[in-house]
């Protein structure tokens, strides 16, 4: 199986989007922060896609969905429920969408006019590395999988936010969006394997617990790859970025 990373982008500054790409900002400003960041990261790698409308899209749902607006609505709803007076509550439908975990995928498909098979992995710790495994399967020759046809490009996107963003604070150190393009076309880094070893109950109790997030773990891996010398690169996924069940190691070949 041959699968190369052909492009990636990490977006941490939502303010930059409005300044640098007003057209994109007009499209995404109504979304919640993880979705804004995911779509901005995707925009930065779009040029590396051979046919954006035919790329297989894989999204990672935020582990902390929602928005300050949705939280406010939830508080109002709870107060209304206690009074038996929810019929008076008015909800802007866009804020309901902030709860939807596949929102980034849907918005990206519309932007790219992409009707290809796609998936979104849920907001559980460690699903980012499941997305990499899924991408490798999507790019495998059909004879290996029984599929009718294989993909030639896979775009993985996702975004995170932390408690600060959900409180409506202007900066959130946990907020980021990541986009990564994997392809059958040779490039500098070849993704070889994702190896898993069960941690076991004893290891789980002794180790650092995972900190659920969609993409920060992938961002750390990409940072590690950026400075890697030529040769085999083995990246032991830190416990905080895993799923708390398996120890993961990502094997890549750097040209």
């Amino acid at each position: 199986m041959s699968c190369w990373i052909t492009a990636h982008a990490i977006e941490r500054d939502v303010g930059r989007i409005a300044t640098d790409d007003p057209a994109l900002w007009r499209e995404i400003r109504r979304f919640n922060l993880p979705v804004k960041l995911a779509l901005a990261a995707a925009q930065r790698v779009r040029g590396s896609l051979v046919r954006p409308s035919h790329t297989r899209l894989v999204a990672l749902a935020p582990c902390r969905p929602g928005s300050p607006e949705l939280r406010a609505i939830s508080r109002d709803a709870d107060a209304g429920l206690a009074r038996g007076a929810c019929s008076q509550l008015r909800v802007n439908p866009i804020f309901t969408l902030h709860a939807i975990d596949n929102l980034a995928l849907s918005a990206l498909a519309i932007r790219l006019e992409n009707r290809e098979p796609a998936t979104c992995f849920g907001g559980a710790a460690g699903q980012a590395f499941v997305a990499l495994e899924h991408a490798m399967d999507e790019l495998a020759p059909p004879g290996d999988t029984g599929a009718v046809e294989a993909a030639s490009d896979v775009l993985i996107v996702g975004g995170d936010q932390g408690e600060a963003a959900l409180r409506g604070e202007p900066s959130d150190a946990e907020a980021s969006g990541v986009a990564i393009v994997l392809s059958t076309r040779p490039h500098r880094v070849r993704l070889v394997a994702i190896e898993r070893t069960p941690i076991g109950d004893a290891g789980r109790d002794a180790g650092e617990p995972p900190a659920p997030h969609a993409v920060r773990g992938i961002a750390r891996w990409l940072d590690a790859l950026a400075g890697a010398p030529a040769g085999t690169h083995r990246y032991r996924v830190p416990a905080r970025d895993g799923d708390g069940i398996d120890q993961l190691e990502i094997v890549a070949e750097v040209a």
């Binding site: 899209l57 749902a61 582990c63 969905p65 929602g66 609505i73 939830s74 709803a77 709870d78 209304g80 429920l81 009074r83 038996g84 929810c86 019929s87 509550l89 008015r90 909800v91 802007n92 439908p93 309901t96 709860a99 939807i100 975990d101 596949n102 929102l103 995928l105 849907s106 918005a107 498909a109 519309i110 006019e113 992409n114 009707r115 290809e116 098979p117 796609a118 998936t119 979104c120 992995f121 849920g122 907001g123 559980a124 710790a125 699903q127 499941v130 899924h134 399967d137 495998a140 290996d144 999988t145 029984g146 599929a147 009718v148 898993r196 659920p212 799923d243 708390g244 069940i245 398996d246």
Partner: protein
């Protein structure tokens, strides 16, 4: 190519806590949708829903519903979680009351709590209302490709809450109350008088494994999974294209994946939620895929409501039972099909038919579509 079969099923539905209870309720043409006390007390414009009869603390309900369905499925298959993968949908994060306080319930945390008992693969699928069908299709592909030996697949949700009732009501997706109508009649898929769906909780679990592995264990295959297709509408964030092009693509890809032509399909379990926009779009797509031939079409949502991310797994249970029994359950509350929803609908009572294969559709809000084809064991 590896043949993938289903060897166990479990369900947690408004009809009860077994796959048999779901099937019997569907075949009887009854509705399990009723007035939900919590919604009525809150003064909401929507007070009906499909509630699973499971007594449990509110903050433990997500795990309890999933575990109930999974336990039943594994028991029937004669397997345990250890040695079996999990491809599962838990729906969206929600709220629950615990110790008098409103607490956030993370769907991801619920998934991990369940997944911990399973071996690889452990995949959480989040494509809205297409999730469970996509989960089953994903497990099918993983086993067919030799990436997994056996998987539990499906999903359950606990989204029958006031918060989602308010949110989906404002998206104009829910059937609001009518004084002249029984609660069980709220959701009317494909009917001229349809006005949206009834929220429901629960879902179902299926055990998938290779036919060879099942044969070695002496397990009895209930049905075969033969095809999976998926697509995206790329059209709008909360409504499908009127011509159903995305749905059509999903079905055609499932047929291609199964290496069969549409004439092999003997029944369709439609997504059929009873919304004004969704039903005619699916009908338009089905007409193009099926052509001139008639094929019984049914929707479970009039009977149990819309279980959201778990719905496709409940449809799968019904599809497998149709293959086994030759019965197609009726679409509950469908009395007068709308002009733009005309198909060979199963109405009023279950229909006996030769059912070698059933096509199951699930379409997610945002435009993710998934189709899985189930077939009678040869």
């Amino acid at each position: 190519m590896t043949c993938v079969v289903i060897t166990g099923m479990g369900a947690a539905s408004p009809f009860g806590l077994t796959a048999d209870a779901l099937w019997e309720g569907l075949v009887a043409g009854r509705s399990a949708v009723r007035t939900i006390a919590q919604l009525a007390a809150g003064g909401l414009p929507v007070t009906t829903g499909g509630e699973v009869p499971l007594e449990t603390a509110e903050h433990e309900r997500d795990r309890a519903l999933s575990r109930s369905a999974i336990r039943e499925a594994l028991g029937q298959a004669g397997l345990t979680a250890e040695g079996t993968g999990l491809v599962w949908a838990n729906g969206l994060d929600t709220f629950a009351h615990s110790g008098g306080a409103l607490v956030e319930r993370s769907a991801g945390a619920c998934f991990l709590a369940i997944a911990r008992d399973h071996t690889q693969p452990r995949r959480m699928i989040a494509t809205a209302c297409a999730s469970a069908t996509q989960a089953i299709g994903t497990a099918f592909h993983l086993i067919r490709a030799g990436r997994a030996r056996a998987c539990v697949a499906g999903g359950t949700t606990v989204m029958l809450t006031p918060h989602y009732a308010i949110g989906f009501a404002w998206l104009q997706a829910l059937a609001t109350d009518r004084a002249d109508e029984a609660p069980g009649a709220a959701c009317k898929p494909f009917d001229r008088m349809r006005r949206g769906f009834a929220l429901a909780e629960g879902g179902a679990a299926l055990v998938l494994e290779s036919l060879d592995a099942a044969a070695r264990r002496g397990a009895v295959p209930l049905a075969e999974v033969i095809g999976f297709g998926a697509s995206q509408d790329a059209f709008d964030l909360n409504r499908p294209p009127p011509d159903g092009t995305g749905a059509e693509l999903s079905m055609r890809r499932a047929l291609a994946d199964a290496r069969i032509t549409p004439d092999r399909i003997a029944a369709v379990s439609a997504h059929g939620t009873g919304t004004r926009a969704g039903d005619p779009a699916e009908v338009a797509a089905l007409r193009r895929v099926l052509g001139e031939r008639t094929c019984p079409v049914t929707s479970i949502k009039g009977a149990v409501g819309h279980q959201m991310a778990g719905a496709g797994a409940s449809q799968a249970v019904a599809a497998v039972q149709s293959c086994r029994t030759g019965l197609v359950p009726p679409t509950c509350n469908l009395v007068d099909p709308d002009d733009d929803c005309v198909l060979d609908h199963v109405m009023s009572r279950a229909r006996a038919a030769d059912v070698p294969a059933v096509l199951v559709n699930s379409f997610g809000m945002g435009g993710q579509n998934a189709t899985v084809i189930y077939a009678r064991v040869p």
